[in-house]
Symmetry: C2
Subunit: 297 residues, 2 copies
């Protein structure tokens, strides 16, 4: 492993532990009544996710300010929202995936009824935690309004729906972009945007970093599609080959494997270019870009 | 039909139409892309529900102020939350009910995947609509915090979970109360409480009306349980006998039919007593209490 990659790995681990402490602190205890739902919520939330979205938020904030601990609470909320989408995605209704983050999916352990409700509970809880956040009122509103829009019918869910509708169909590049921009890129854009908001970043930087996150988000999804073909359950932590089996719209299915790889690589290059102006401060974000491209899980 | 009942029926119809116009106004169009999800959302939302929760909110507000049109927006949001719970409840995972509000359930028409996402979308959209409401900031926060708590893991969902866990089991009165207080009474209490908030009702009235809604909510659920035994699909708009078939914890199964009827009747009597001080202004709420007790659907 290169020195850079080791540094990134160490830093991601450190931040992940801090975020986990924060999430654990504000989440209901697992023995709270009724126990089943609280255990189910924690099952997927603490199944060893990469905490990529919190990490992105914290490191975006770090471009402008050093007191990164101020981002942990909101970063934890974003991870809760992300986890809610994973639990519902894995349900037999949608992707029917028995593995997630290397463990049995929530519905396999707790049943589909409890898993469905665990996802619902996480979504309500995320908004509840945000409504109770001790931050500037104006900022809180903006985040509440944006988060509820991005996760809703014209955002995340629109991507999900078109993804479902596109199964077993030949899809256009436009449709593929729609799916991935909504289903994945949005939840990569939000942490970057919220990191800017919290750091009170200048408008010009917000614009640049929005472009950055757009490219990173798309690259992330392309690599996800490639890993679904090439990865193994041991490295992925979820079942590989699912997209192919269910004839999902993926970058490799539309552009071919080679061109998909090239696209991801080009997106990452231009994402990195957008970070140049931040020099040393963007060191970890730059490493994260490389990680997104070369990751095996 | 008695004169009182006719007056109530007419007023409920009028208010229902006004609420429906409001919901229609702020909800995404049914031909918005992707169409499926937007049609699915509207399918259950406009399937002819009683709009009991909005009606309760509006009439609570009316005890203190006359400009009831100010409540319609928030009342519409409560109906969206209620509808999200219905769509998820009806899914094969949970109650597996093919009929709702006299029409085929959302998942029967649009598939379980789209129905699941339609519920998710409604929950996000309800919070989005509330975050964007043009009302006093403090009040908005309070409602956001309370609504996300009441619908979450320690509220509505706690009731749902214990309901599921109690199937095919002999439950105690304590457990039955827990289920119904959380699963049903909360969504009856909220409209009354929010109506008070919006009207800026004195603390003493808020306390009295909280007691009122607690009694009304419990009576509502007892009657629901009785109707599940005695009703028909034609009048109920949903499949009767489901509770018995799935051995759900109900008032008749714990207390017997006769005692359950008596309990509902006593609860309604004491709910009505709590309204005495409002005289003529509580006329419609008083009629609504009788309606909750004697309704056939």
């Amino acid at each position: 492993m290169s020195k850079k990659r080791m540094l990134l790995k160490k830093d991601m681990k450190e931040k992940r532990e801090l975020i986990n402490i924060e999430i654990d602190r504000f989440l209901p205890r697992k023995d709270e009544y009724p126990k089943q739902i609280h255990k189910a919520i924690r099952h997927t939330l603490f199944a060893g996710g990469k905490r990529l979205r919190p990490y992105l938020m914290t490191n975006t904030y770090k471009l402008f300010r050093d007191d990164i601990e101020k981002t942990f609470y909101i970063a934890g909320i974003l991870e809760m929202i992300h986890t809610y989408t994973l639990i519902h995605d894995d349900l037999p209704e949608i992707d029917n995936d028995d593995y997630r983050r290397g463990r049995k999916s929530c519905h396999v352990v707790y049943g589909s009824d409890i898993a469905l409700l665990a996802g619902d509970a996480l979504l309500s809880y995320a908004f509840n935690a945000l409504a109770n956040a001790e931050i500037d009122h104006r900022l809180k509103y903006q985040m509440l309004a944006e988060l509820s829009e991005e996760t809703g019918h014209s955002g995340l869910i629109a991507g999900q729906v078109v993804d479902i509708e596109s199964e077993n169909k030949k899809v256009s590049q436009k449709t593929l972009n729609f799916i991935h921009n909504n289903k994945t890129a949005r939840m990569i854009n939000i942490p970057v945007r919220f990191g800017c908001y919290m750091a009170n970043a200048p408008a010009e930087d917000q614009k640049r970093l929005a472009k950055f996150s757009q490219k990173l988000g798309l690259a992330f999804q392309i690599v996800d599609d490639i890993l679904d073909i090439e990865g193994s359950k041991a490295t992925l932590g979820k079942s590989p080959g699912k997209d192919e089996k269910s004839h999902k719209a993926t970058f490799p299915s539309v552009y071919g494997l080679e061109r998909s790889r090239k696209m991801a690589s080009e997106l990452i290059e231009s994402a990195k270019e957008l970070l140049q102006k931040y020099d040393e401060k963007a060191k970890l974000l730059l490493m994260l870009c490389d990680f997104v491209l070369t990751r095996k899980f």
